[in-house]
Point group: C2
Chain length 272, copies 2
């Protein structure tokens, strides 16, 4: 039996600038999504250069030598300039291509310091969410079993961290104050995927201020444009993931045939 | 039997600016040392406002409410402005008080992006060293036992990370190129303490480029000024730590009497 899905995704919108940066990665990549969101917020044109995860392209010696020594995505390419690490990429897009008065990554030293403070908190404290998502979402996606001990250990840190973030957001519209900034962007991808796990799908109910912040941020067009992720499992166990743009997909087990009509029109056929 | 040590440390040097920022913390704090080093590099006057670790001041509700919700040090205070997280503090000192043409945290977007890239690598990958130091240095200091499983787990990440950093430093004098930058500063404190552990005291011998980088950086006056740490254990088991300035000390077990003659002249008496 064949199961067929057809997905129509939106074409890229017109951009407000003609400069095009490239981001090597995947649309579904948590870290790459930070860069896409920043570019969307600032009206900076960009294109995705897909990395073939299924074939382990990012772990190849060539990729490590040329793009990223740790074998990770994303990598930003801007002419003859390259930079990796998603937070560095996000800052670079804003500094190099954002308008001088953009509030996403303010130039004023004090305002910027508060943005940096909360970016750093995300990397040092909110990384418990990365660990939970890795076990509960990504491990099953790739056919593995979640390590429940890792989930339990990180859940302790999650509760402590969320209580502090929720209190902060009770008196701040966004992490660094009244404006949506890079400090908000960095928290979005893992929060999104956390809510896609069965176990944590309602986890924000205990943190109403964080939940309100999430709803404010995740409704922004910049985020909506890269917020879709389709994950299919056929009855025979074949799996594939299609990202929001339908431009790149990951076939986790064979017996899936994917037809790309153009950049936006995808047909998935599970071969029984 | 009494054991007596007398430590004479240097008074603060004259500063090149009259602006004084305050850093709440300890001279021995790995994270606070980043801020001190940046201030020293840029000639920014600063003073330490000690936090009483022994009494758990940093974990008190008052401290969390007023200074740092996670109960950590350091916190920078600049007039009526405050910021926490050591990397954010370091960036702020450079942005707000560094000369416009300082190379420590360059304003050029591409140069800065590479600094940010390696700062982020430190936080995401080099944090294995934080974990090892926590077990092998800090746990025994506070009378605990190292968790060898944590050490072993992080040693795997350490070897992978160090091989990549060593290769990078084979063609780069400093992390972000030819200049000493914030990207170098962030790696210093935990590298220093790693080398103070018995198990890793020779660990850089396998990474000659990293070792040469360490020798280049750690010989800088900005680092030398906060690189001393005295740790005393008496025969009866009393313990204390005196930082480089002799301004603040941590008595880990009682039966230690510490006399401060002034900011720089300290006598320690272990009471038998």
């Amino acid at each position: 039996m064949n199961l067929t899905f057809k997905i129509i995704t939106n074409r890229n919108q017109n951009r407000t600038t003609t400069m095009t940066i490239q981001i090597k990665g995947l649309y579904m990549s948590t870290c790459a999504r930070r860069g896409f969101t920043v570019a969307e917020e600032l009206g900076v044109a960009y294109e995705l250069v897909p990395v073939d995860f299924a074939k382990g392209e990012h772990k190849s010696p060539e990729y490590r030598e040329k793009y990223q020594p740790f074998g990770q995505i994303p990598v930003l390419i801007d002419g003859d300039f390259q930079v990796f690490e998603s937070r560095a990429i996000s800052r670079y897009i804003a500094d190099a291509h954002g308008k001088a008065d953009n509030t996403l990554y303010p130039k004023d030293a004090k305002k910027r310091a508060l943005v940096e403070q909360w970016i750093s908190v995300e990397q040092s404290h909110f990384n418990c969410v990365d660990a939970i998502v890795g076990q509960l979402l990504f491990a099953p996606m790739f056919g593995g079993q979640p390590n429940q001990q890792i989930v339990a250990d990180n859940d302790v840190k999650f509760k402590t961290t969320m209580a502090i973030l929720d209190k902060h957001l009770s008196t701040h519209k966004y992490f660094a104050g009244e404006d949506f900034t890079l400090a908000d962007v960095v928290y979005l991808p893992y929060t999104d995927y956390l809510l896609k796990t069965k176990e944590y799908s309602n986890s924000l109910d205990n943190y109403p201020n964080f939940k309100a912040w999430w709803e404010r941020c995740s409704s922004r067009p910049s985020w909506q444009k890269n917020s879709l992720l389709f994950f299919f499992v056929s009855r025979s166990g074949s799996r594939c993931i299609i990202d929001a743009r339908g431009k790149y997909m990951l076939v986790i087990k064979p017996r899936v045939k994917i037809l790309i009509v153009d950049d936006c029109d995808v047909t998935i056929i599970f071969l029984a």
